[in-house]
Amino acid sequence: MSSRHPEFLDDLERQFAELSAGEAAGRRRRRHAGRAGLAVAAVGLCLASAGAVAAVTGLIDISGDRSAGLVGLADRAGIASGTASSDRTWLLSTARNGPHTCLALKIESASRLLGTSEICGGIELGQFNAGTAPQGSSRPLLFGTLPEDVDRVRLVDVDVDVTETSARAIDGPAGLAGRFFVVELPTADPRGVRVELLRAEGELARGPIPLLQLLRTSIAPVSPPSAD
């Protein structure tokens, strides 16, 4: 660094170097901890950052859900359930309505139904489709389907702060060849949120797409990500 540089810039450089060195040391420790250690760390991060997700593999009894506005189809199949902020739980399910696929997100808190959001028609498995489930002052949830080569959805808020949330793709239950996702928005205000689709290696497959722009066209499938 030039002698004209103020010392406080040098001092910041030293602190960032220490932060980088600490991060590198942490990576080495995690590598040496082996697979079991990695699994524990992964579960911990999962719970801390985006809520737990559990598989649902059987058919769901929807007889009690008609008031929630879900299409009453007998073949409704659960895909996954999980938790979100404000003690909310969600259940993602799918059903066929003639030639169309329907995808629904049901949100509850302490077994009380908070609401459902459903998109029916225009969804093609293997493509990117998305819908939101707004929840008043709580952070909305974004849900939908993903192309096969996408492993993760990341939402970045570029307006308030550079904050982000992300969720890994969920494989469909047996007999349903598709990939799905549910992710909580980083803020309650969707206006500054950008959606990014990432491959398994972390490469950007598509995006960033302004969330509001995406939702205006989300009933029609969005083209699958193009290869870089």
């Binding site: 103020p6 406080f8 910041l12 602190q15 570029v158 949330t165 969720a167 969920i170 972390g202 870089d228």
Partner: protein
């Protein structure tokens, strides 16, 4: 089946990976000048520089895979966001600084001189003084006391008869308007040396 669990960095696409300290070393001086020429306050510019790099550090995986011009544009995108927040609130944000535990100490007098020289602020102050007439009376008084007379914020607040946060906001908004005037006159952005 699963959920986000790791923070896998993207792959580099063509250029060798540059460490964050190297990235900081290459761009910190220019970024500090970028801020200092706009806020005309070394301490605020130092804080904005630190917060911008702290946010960049927290989201450094987003730099991976970007070509150099894109990485710089990304950094200055964060910087402009921070500057905009400063102009609205009168204070540089310190959220990422606190999260990372970065220490910002007092600035020694000789270091202040080096920073003023680096950003060529003395030359800019002349342009500021002549452009003050284009501000409202409230903003003109606040900016003149802080930037031209060099008073501390508590002193500016006492002179204006307002609380310190109000004084900071008035100075910041005045500087924002001043920056627009200076930009339009070609006096801002680049130091003369």
């Amino acid at each position: 089946m699963g959920q986000a669990t790791t923070d896998t960095p993207g792959r580099e696409t063509g250029t060798p990976a540059e460490s964050f300290p190297d990235f900081y070393r290459r761009h910190s001086g220019a970024l500090f000048v970028f801020f200092a020429r706009r806020v005309i306050d070394v301490e605020v510019a130092r804080d904005l520089t630190a917060e911008t790099f702290a946010q960049a550090f927290e989201h450094r995986h987003r730099r991976h895979g970007r070509r150099d011009p894109d990485a710089i544009a990304w950094l200055y995108g964060i910087a402009r966001h921070q500057l905009s927040r400063y102009w609205r609130r009168g204070r540089a944000e310190r959220k990422a600084i606190r999260r990372l535990g970065i220490q910002l100490g007092d600035i020694a007098d000789d270091d202040l001189d080096r920073a003023v020289a680096l950003a060529d602020l003395d030359a800019l102050r002349g342009a500021v003084a002549s452009a003050l007439e284009r501000l409202s009376e409230k903003e003109r008084s606040a900016v003149a006391l802080r930037v031209v007379k060099g008073l501390s914020y508590p002193e500016v607040a006492r002179a204006l008869g307002v609380r310190e946060p109000a004084a900071r906001t008035r100075v910041a908004r005045g500087l924002r308007h001043l920056a627009h005037h200076l930009d339009s006159e070609g006096a801002d952005v680049q130091p003369s040396s």
